[in-house]
């Protein structure tokens, strides 16, 4: 992949054997078998002179990069953030050919950095705040009996603390927009009811934590018309899942197409929902 540094050593990826067991479980439920796509909701159309804006974290590769491409294609304004824009070749190339895309450096664990970016965009509406940045923690660090506790804090900080800090920092921007959406890429791995095989203690509990956080934010921000949602990609073919057989993974184009459909579909009556990639409500 030439679209950014491989941060293997910080536990971004999940090890093959760990996810294989979970993916096999998912395959057994029919989730990965091809079937007719659900009815397409109409894509959000940009009103004249008022292109919607989306801010995406972790947009240098994988799902985040695909989000940036697809929103740019829709003629939305895309604030594409990542930790290392200089190393994000594919993202730079996208920004180079699309006037819609602006690159910003942002690490979601860097709170002063988040505040500085929010100050830079003060007063500008952001229709969709898309909390996509996330790390897996590394499958080798999360085996019961050999748990690596030094890794846990980092996973919680990125996956649980990052989204809430982002929502807080860009609250006014989202409120000033037309669509007023705060979306977080969660995971069906965050469903406690769905646990069958034990693994990924850090990753799963960080997603349950962010699910709880967003369920609360949805209620708290409802009166301000802000829609808070949790969307999930299913097991997707990106670096995050490197090492797993491709046949178990969904193309990133499909994952993002599905999530964008759900993001479009989210209205205030749905705020706080935790959705699968087919739009089904997932159990907590």
């Amino acid at each position: 992949m030439g679209d950014g540094r491989h941060r293997d050593d910080d536990g971004t990826k999940l090890a093959r054997r760990e996810f294989l067991a979970g993916a096999v479980g998912l395959a057994a439920t029919g989730v990965l078998t091809p079937e007719a796509a659900p009815a397409q909701a109409p894509a959000a159309t940009a009103e004249e002179g008022a292109r919607p804006t989306v801010l995406i974290t972790g947009s240098n590769r994988g799902i985040g990069l695909e989000f940036a491409k697809r929103y740019a294609e829709r003629d939305w304004r895309v604030i594409a953030t990542c930790r290392d824009p200089d190393g994000a070749d594919a993202l730079k190339e996208l920004a180079g050919r699309s006037r819609n895309v602006v690159l910003e450096r942002l690490d979601v664990v860097d709170h002063p950095g988040i505040d500085a970016l929010a100050a830079k965009y003060a007063g500008q509406p952001i229709d969709v705040l898309l909390n996509n940045a996330g790390i897996g923690g590394g499958g080798d660090n999360q085996t019961f009996g050999k748990l690596r506790y030094d890794v846990y804090a980092g996973v919680l900080k990125v996956n649980a603390e990052g989204p809430i800090k982002m929502c807080e920092a860009f609250l006014k921007n989202v409120e000033a927009s037309r669509q007023k959406k705060m979306m977080t890429v969660s995971s069906n791995q965050g469903s406690i009811a769905g646990v069958k095989v034990p693994m990924l203690y850090w990753y799963r509990s960080s997603k349950s934590a962010v699910n709880m956080i967003m369920a609360n934010l949805a209620l708290q921000l409802r009166n301000r018309g802000i829609i808070v949602g949790l969307v999930t990609p299913g097991p997707t073919d990106t670096d995050f899942m490197a090492g797993l057989p491709k046949r178990m993974l969904r193309p990133v184009e499909d994952a993002v197409r599905d999530m964008m459909r759900e993001i479009d579909r989210f209205d205030i009556s749905m705020t706080g929902q935790f959705l699968g990639f087919k739009g089904e409500i997932l159990p907590w």
């Binding site: 846990y152 603390e161 809430i164 699910n211 709880m212 956080i213």
Partner: protein, 272 residues
């Protein structure tokens, strides 16, 4: 015993029969012994509140209690309990100090511990977790470390001790505040997130240790009259004695069939 002739034979047979009887009843007597004073419970955060009450009630059963606290020297009530009961041992432990957790597990190496109770927990100051107003990130991180990471560390470190025991139970004092399905008004966002995360990890642990015969539970004690709830009017709070009686009753009923469940103090399941 010596004897001669038929009397000696009878005596020897009687002795042998008594010996066999003694051996047969030894198992039952051992079971009785295990059923009372050899049962051992480890309770974290035992200096006050629910933890202290746990010590009181388990010690009243005649069980051995390892009561841990960050500052035993300040734990007046706990010290008084221990002074009156030789089966209570106080150990200094900050559950967020993982080196110390390992050291305590090593200290008790080879000793069965029937029930490990992850009771130590913090709420984080309510005023420091108001979204958009007062979110204090070091508070969030401390709450996560105590309520989420430490219980897993304790469980992992004391796994062999539970495995070597008769009862084999891991009990986590959770909270209905960790039930995402029950959220109907926003509050205590850090505390809630921590309890939801605890629920997720312990559900995984339940599956992981089932093969070793260890049962895992997450139990909500309800809103209890302790320092943790000091800001609430007493009429909303349950006495500690009742709360811990419920926790212990549910613990008594834990099996490998109901392992991994999230219980309300009534014994009913809570939604995740």
């Amino acid at each position: 015993m010596t004897g001669s002739g038929q009397v000696g034979t009878t005596r020897r047979a009687l002795t042998a029969a008594l010996g066999v009887l003694f051996l047969l009843t030894a198992a039952a007597r051992a079971e009785d012994a295990v059923a009372s004073s050899d049962v051992t419970v480890l309770i974290t955060g035992a200096n006050r509140g629910i933890g202290l009450e746990y010590v009181r009630q388990y010690a009243a059963r005649g069980w051995k209690v390892i009561a841990t606290a960050r500052r035993p020297e300040d734990a007046t009530d706990l010290k008084a309990l221990a002074a009156a009961n030789p089966r209570i041992t106080i150990e200094k432990l900050d559950v967020t100090d993982f080196v110390a957790v390992d050291a305590l597990a090593a200290k008790y190496k080879g000793k069965p511990i029937d029930i490990v109770v992850n009771n130590a927990g913090i709420t984080g100051d309510r005023q420091k977790q108001e979204f958009g107003r007062s979110s204090d990130w070091p508070t969030f991180e401390a709450v996560l470390k105590t309520n989420v990471v430490a219980p897993l560390k304790v469980a992992e470190a004391f796994l062999p001790h539970m495995e070597a025991s008769a009862q084999k139970k891991l009990v986590n004092v959770s909270s209905s505040e960790g039930s995402i399905g029950s959220v109907n008004s926003p509050r205590n966002i850090f505390y809630r997130a921590s309890k939801a995360a605890l629920n997720m990890e312990m559900r995984n642990v339940a599956f992981a240790v089932k093969g070793k015969g260890i049962a895992v539970a997450l139990i909500n004690p309800g809103p209890v009259d302790t320092d943790m709830m000091a800001s609430l009017p007493k009429r909303f709070l349950r006495p500690k004695e009742d709360a811990v009686k419920d926790l212990i009753r549910i613990t008594d009923q834990l099996t490998l069939e109901n392992t991994g469940s999230y219980w309300d103090f009534t014994g009913k399941p809570l939604p995740w």
